[in-house]
Symmetry: C2
Subunit: 306 residues, 2 copies
């Protein structure tokens, strides 16, 4: 059984690749919930939804998140009313948030709700939120502290990042099933996601890093940085602003306490020794997933390495 | 200043007629909130919304409620998730409920929220909820107790009504502005609405009926029953099941403690004496509002009588 620690869009590509090779019993995904937001009274879980929408084939292929061909009539009407319109809430997507919020209010846990939404949309793979607690990430920036979605969506990552705060994390614990999955895994894969806002919150859940040290499974990370650039999103900008080099080596360093294998892109093969010096094994292959074939090939490559 | 006590669709027709003749300072509407429902964590106020959508020109002309040409993508998606889909939530309409709920959670009163939603949609007329409390009407039926919307929408009024329960009403008080409006009115008009589920909840707010007795303004009711039939909705069925005759006289009887004038449809002129026997003055005219002209003519007729 492979366990994947996953953020949103980048992770979903690799998850989709794995899903074409492995059955539901062979894959468990632990999803970031640090990017969750409560907006208009709704609990929105962008990373979990991206994974569910991707695996159910509903995802918007143009963006990698949201639902394909969704309409935005509610959002437009909300704008007319003077409500917040910076967060892109599609009409179909909204149903997920309404239903999730409703089930949470009835007393179900996020684990239960995520399972039932996945089931309803035909997702057979096991997706666990990292925790059932609400632990939104806050970005401490030159423009003050912003909720991660305010930073990402409303401010388009413009503010300069000084620090991250995983709020309420000290009270959180891994969601039911998370510890067992990691301890019983044959391999743990950290997806090519942002180390600060996608993987970081998962690692910040008390006890989570200890599980990665404790498990007998190899822990493997796929680089989100290729050729000194982030494959997607603000990873490069964040690395710089937090005084890291924009290099796969920085990622390996961040994970070094528990990482066994680093998957470096073949374009960066010359960094191999730098990372090996951290006592981490390095594997090299194409990590850039543009086509479905790329996704399956990367997943197959990883399975073969393992 | 004319004060109208109003339910939903039937009332909105007459309100629209008055709005073509009177300016914002000359008309105050006190809207029923007994049909409010909390669904999916949203506070939905169907009667208030019908009035706002009607006055803003957004109403669906085919139904008399909801927003014209609204889409139902969220509702469809909700159905796929296994969520409740019996309540017709249009995508644009949903924005009203989301925004209202959000403002209520921030601590605004329903009066404030109703005002700001009306303003945002360009409604200049003063619409006051009958109370700021949540006082949903329950229908005691042969199939158990149902929330009024479950009875009206989900069960399509099929269960046999035995009794109504205006829940939580003893704790309610008239919303700010309601008492003053009634006491200062030049006339109070009970719209041609259902006496049990539209006007009934308003009259059940503690102190409300006393205000109607106390005001020096004539209190006038427009019949919702013409030619032994309800103009709209389940009024006739309810009258029967609650052991009233399906007759304008029953309506006049229900209101007789405070009613000065009953507006009878000209088709029912022979009932005049029956109602006058209740010590209520009777005026007769066409009360059936099909066209905009009908609405304006009825409003003009009432103003002339006053």
């Amino acid at each position: 059984m492979i366990v994947m620690l996953a953020g949103g869009v980048g992770a979903s590509k690799l998850i989709l690749g794995f899903s074409k090779l492995l059955g539901p019993e062979q894959l468990t995904i632990i999803g970031n919930t640090g990017d969750d937001i409560e907006l208009l009274g709704l609990r929105i879980c962008p990373d979990l939804d991206t994974i569910i929408y991707t695996l159910s084939g509903k995802v918007n292929p143009a963006t990698g998140w949201g639902i394909g061909e969704d309409s935005f009539d509610c959002l437009q009407a909300l704008k007319s009313l003077g409500g917040p319109s910076w967060f892109q809430l599609g009409d179909r997507d909204l149903a997920t948030h309404l239903w999730r919020t409703s089930l949470l209010r009835e007393g179900q846990s996020l684990t239960q709700v995520t399972h039932s939404i996945g089931q309803a949309l035909g997702v057979q793979y096991r997706l666990l939120p990292m925790t059932d607690s609400y632990v939104p990430t806050y970005m401490v920036t030159d423009q003050g502290e912003l909720h991660i979605q305010e930073y990402l969506v409303r401010e388009q990552c413009r503010p300069i990042l000084r620090e991250l705060r995983y709020s309420n994390i000290e009270q959180a614990q891994p969601a039911p099933g998370v510890a067992e999955a990691i301890l019983k895994a044959e391999a743990v894969v950290l997806c090519p996601s942002n180390p600060f806002i996608s993987i970081g919150p998962i690692l910040a859940v008390p006890g989570l890093q200890e599980l990665l040290v404790q498990t007998e499974a190899p822990v493997l990370a796929v680089t989100p940085i290729v050729n000194q650039r982030a494959l997607k999103g603000p990873t490069a900008k964040m690395l710089k602003e937090l005084a890291y080099a924009v290099s796969p080596t920085s990622i390996a360093e961040i994970y070094k306490d528990f990482l066994d294998v680093f998957v470096l892109d073949e374009r960066d093969w010359e960094l191999r020794e730098e990372i090996e010096a951290l006592q981490i094994r390095v594997l090299t292959c194409n990590t850039v997933m543009t086509s479905m074939e790329d996704k399956i090939n990367l997943a197959r490559g990883l399975l073969e390495m393992l």
